[in-house]
Amino acid sequence: MNFVNSLLWTIPALPLAGFITLALFGDRIARRSVSRIAVGTVSLSALLALVFAFRFVTAPPEGQAFQQALWSWIHVGSFSVDAALRLDSLSMVMVLVVTVIGALIHLYSTEYMADDESYTRFFAYLNLFVAAMLTLVLADNLLFLFLGWEGVGLCSFLLIGFWYEDPKNGRAAAKAFLVTRIGDVFMLIGMLLLFWHFGTLHIQTLLGAVNTEGHSWHLTLAALLLLGGAIGKSGQVPLQVWLPDAMAGPTPVSALIHAATMVTAGVYLIARMNPIFIHAPGIQHLVAVIGAVTLLIAGLCALAQRDIKRVLAYSTVSQIGYMFLALGAGAWSAAMFHFFTHAIFKALLFMAAGAIIVALHHEQDMFKMGGLRRRMPLVFWTYLIGSLSLAALPLVTAGFYSKDKILFEVFTSEHGKLLWAVGVAGAFITALYTFRMNFLVFFGTQKSEIHKGTGLAMALPLMLLAAGATVVGFFELPAVFGHFTLFSSFIEHTLPGTHGDHASHSLELMLMAVSTAAVFAGIAVAYFIWGSAAKKSSDVTKRPLSRLLASGMGFDWLYERAIVSPYSAGARANAADAVNALYTALVSGIEAIAFSLARTQSGRLRWYMAAIAFGAVVGILLVVYA
């Protein structure tokens, strides 16, 4: 039995081995074997993760976590960082999502990327990503977590810029890396602070020390700095600007990295470090406020996009906003539940969108789509299921249960009423943009030819995820529907429980009714604007407000003016290095002196005589008077 537990390390090691094999021998391996290696390693990881999940439930490990030390990373005096893994229920959920959805996306990619000349490179990066993400969620030490954290950032960079021959993609990739790095600086300083104050970066020891310490300014500051890191990675305001541009990468990448897994690393970080935030209530509230602001801004921006992937990108930002809202309101398990359902339906939506994009020969403009309902029935139905889940259609979709849990717990939290109202408004907007997208793409008249059908490798993940997007909602039912809490009781082995249980059933039903009304209103409005007459609305993007929203509320514009331009202008002006002037001046000064001295050697006798006479007089005067 212990043998299985000791296999924990293979969960991240398998995809890593896949990466190494592909990176070193990729050019000597046939395509078929490349996909076998890539898909095989991740699938094996997924199987192992399922075995661990099963064991977790049937034979819970000691201390509710599987642990395994790997090697000593830095081990000197009291500064020791062990590369050790810890699988508790929070990590378990993350690991399951990363490996299972990761495996499906790998499978999907074998068809999506089939014609790409850099097939091997793609799968190598994808495998590396899965390995890094698993390191992130399994790490037992903040610095080791940071290894995974930066590792996923690197893979995201490599994959956004995957088609590097177009400089636009390279720029998007660099932007993603740099913007998230700004967050990383905060996180790094936060780690310095935590290590300085507590003398350790081992997460469990650290959190134990945090709980005994209670409130202090250190914790407030540390929470703020960690939040900075989380904002960058998870694309929250004001560092959300990179995520929409990240859509430059191949669609499976968007599905895996920029929707289902990596972008939720910030959510994971805050959930993982929850005692710090609990002891810094002001910052925790800030988390909620940032979430609320983000979900609103990103939702509005999604309304004005033409590119189907950008709609989904803004929708991701917005949904992570809900998760932040939940974290900030202390609804820890609700945040993770929404992460869980979102990962499934957003991966589904992205992959279905990818199927459309491939079918239409890389057309991403929704206004050039339309009427695909009949021509691509499978994609239509799976996309619809994903959309309904995103829009949180009551009772039958996973998104409903998770979003409802968040809204309910936000309402019952302290100062939660206003945040709840924002959340409901967000629910309306979500339904609105989701169905705008559906009506534009699948209804109306067909505008583009279909070049290629959807093969099995792409269809299978769609169907599985569509099933998931419905079923997983029942893992967690609200009190009024029987109070079935499989998910939250599992995850609350690790995360603190919520206090909303004392609320009455009538309140719960009432809140549910309000959000349901918002969702239906959103769908209805979308139908009236885009459903009946999809043609006329194509020029809506020309209005100033739409332009503002389409450009992401001008954040890019502002950053360009305020930071990027001045910095590059300054650097360009100083390319020759101003300090050099100092030395050039020194050289010219010496030269000038040398030349003027040289001029005294003129060869004219009378000047020499005069100089000698002058010198003699000065000499005599000095002798006489000094």
């Binding site: 090697w71 000593s72 990373w73 830095i74 081990h75 000197v76 005096g77 009291s78 500064f79 610095l143 940071f146 290894l147 954290w149 930066e150 590792g151 690197l154 960079f157 810029g161 590097y164 021959e165 177009d166 400089p167 390279g170 720029r171 990739a173 660099a174 890396f177 740099l178 790095r181 700004i182 990383d184 600086v185 790094l188 300083i189 310095l192 602070l193 290590f195 300085w196 910095y567 590059s568 300054g570 650097a571 360009r572 100083n574 390319a575 290095d577 300090v579 050099n580 100092l582 030395y583």
Partner: protein, 515 residues
């Protein structure tokens, strides 16, 4: 002759062998060089092993020592009247620097495989320079130290002036003059120590056992620190480095940026801080501020450079700032970070300059905007370039991250002699470098390797040859190794740093492990 002397003599003997071979057999010359430096590499491995066997039992002793303990010592009187001796040995700091030097020169020789003009002189001078570098890292007599130091600096003038590119005479002159001014400061400092001690010896250990007056230390610490700072690219004395590096031939840039610049950090720590702890305390905050400028100014300077070598040289200025920043932190974490950063930056920048040489050998241009899309035709070189770039922007898992983390922790912890608020603010300012470094690294690499291929000639270029793969592969492997198992090298270094801390604290046995 002991092991350490053999290590110093090895490149010299190789040089002699090289000189004896006529130029027409230039192919034999490079084989001799590769074998000679290869033997040096093995010798280094053996010395490291011997050092570790002997030193690991002394960890507890060093915790309470105020003088560093040397191993494999050889001591022979030389000019007895002046108190000059041939005094060599090794400690943890030396050993890490020697490993670095051996790796870089081995890879540097491989990277110079195609030098066809005056091959003999080129390799001879290169090996002479390395003799000097080994000598500096291994001697503990200040006179001997200075002699080797000059031996390392002077061949540079010829190497750049003859085999260089671009405005090479200007660059060679500028570099030599500035470094000589630096070494003049160092020499004055050494002589002052010699006189002030009244011991009539240049023995570093003996000089360090004296307590100099605070006033003396206040004057001479900055003199020695700045003197070494010049070669360590301390702002505002860094301007020789971009010109020098960009004009130098590949192996020379590798060796110079990779190893020679480390002489600065090494000397600042080994001599300035070690012998003059009171001076260090008084000046630490000032130099910390100056090196913070270093770190950011270097990144700022790198971003808009058009020449790939200028680009890398400015990045070196920034990274060498970390070395001196760690030294100025005046605590164990900072010192460790400084030594690690010397090692890591040495390998990384050696790799950078090696790769630039290889790319230049193919494209015949180093102007960044003229390149583009090269990843398609030279995937191996592009991958290595990216790995070096990622190491330089501090990606965890590669060596740069470990070093920078130590340096940042060191700065953040501060020391009792500098205002802690100030050191913390400076550290936080310095951490911004991880963003600005990423900015120029990613931008630069994207312009060279991504995008469409600019020049149709580039389509026919070949990827790395076998020797090039070996040379870059060794360096990449080292970056990864130090990134994943840094404690191996930290354990070599750390015990030798305890005495430094004890000296600063003025109390023996006060080393708080880890801090």
């Amino acid at each position: 002759m002991g092991l350490v002397s053999w290590l110093i003599a090895m490149p010299f003997l190789t040089m002699v062998a090289v000189v004896l071979v006529p130029q027409k057999h230039w192919r034999a010359i490079r084989w001799i060089s590769v074998v000679g430096t290869g033997i040096g590499l093995l010798l280094t491995a053996y010395i490291t092993y011997r050092y570790w066997i002997e030193a690991r039992n002394d960890v507890d002793f060093l915790r309470t020592a105020t003088l560093t303990k040397l191993y494999l010592v050889e001591r022979v009187p030389w000019f007895e009247a002046l108190g000059i001796q041939y005094f060599v040995g090794i400690d943890g700091i030396s050993v890490s620097m020697v490993i670095l030097t051996s790796i870089i020169i081995f890879c540097g020789v491989l990277a110079s495989w195609n030098v066809e003009t005056r091959t003999k002189e080129f390799f001879a001078l290169l090996l002479l320079l390395v003799t000097g570098v080994f000598g500096v890292f291994l001697s503990y007599d200040l006179f001997l130290f200075f002699m080797f130091y000059e031996l390392a600096v002077l061949p540079m003038y010829l190497l750049i002036g003859i085999w260089g590119t671009g405005p090479k005479e200007y660059a060679a002159m500028k570099l030599t003059l500035m470094l000589l001014v630096g070494s003049a400061f160092v020499l004055v400092g050494f002589l002052a120590l010699y006189h002030a001690s009244g011991l009539n010896t240049f023995d570093l250990q003996a000089l360090a056992s004296i307590h100099y007056s605070d006033r003396f230390q206040w004057w001479f610490f900055p003199m020695i620190f700045v003197g070494f700072g010049v070669i360590g690219a301390l702002f505002p004395f860094h301007t020789w480095s971009p010109d020098g590096h960009s004009s130098a031939p590949t192996a020379v840039s590798m060796l110079h940026a990779g190893v020679l610049m480390k002489l600065g950090g090494y000397g600042a720590l080994r001599i300035a801080v070690y012998v003059l702890p009171e001076g260090a305390k008084a000046w630490a905050l000032f130099f910390m501020a100056l090196t913070t400028i270093n770190i950011l100014y270097g990144s700022f300077g790198a971003i808009m450079q058009r020449d790939l070598k200028y680009f890398t040289a400015y990045s070196s200025v920034s990274h060498c700032g970390f070395v001196l920043f760690g030294v100025a932190a005046l605590n164990l974490m900072g010192f460790k970070g400084a030594v690690l950063q010397m090692f890591s930056h040495g390998i990384m920048t050696g790799l950078f300059f090696g790769l630039i040489g290889m790319v230049y050998g193919r494209t015949h241009t180093r102007v960044i905007p003229e390149m583009g899309g090269l990843a398609k035709v030279m995937p191996w070189l592009a991958t290595c370039f990216y790995i070096a770039g990622l190491a330089s922007l501090g990606l965890p898992g590669l060596s740069g991250f470990v070093a920078e983390t130590h340096v940042f922790l060191g700065g953040f912890f501060g020391n009792p002699w500098s205002n802690t608020i100030a050191t913390r603010v400076l550290t936080i300012v310095a951490t911004l470098s991880i963003v600005v470094t990423a900015v120029y690294v990613l931008r630069g690499l994207a312009m060279v390797f991504q995008g469409p291929i600019n020049d149709p000639h580039f389509e026919e270029l070949r990827d790395a040859t076998l020797t090039e793969k070996l040379s870059t592969g060794v360096l990449v492997a080292t970056l990864l190794f130090v990134g994943m198992l840094p404690w191996l090298i930290i354990n070599l270094i750390e015990p030798s740093l305890y005495p430094f801390i004890n000296r600063l604290n003025g109390v023996a046995g006060n080393v708080v492990a880890g801090l």
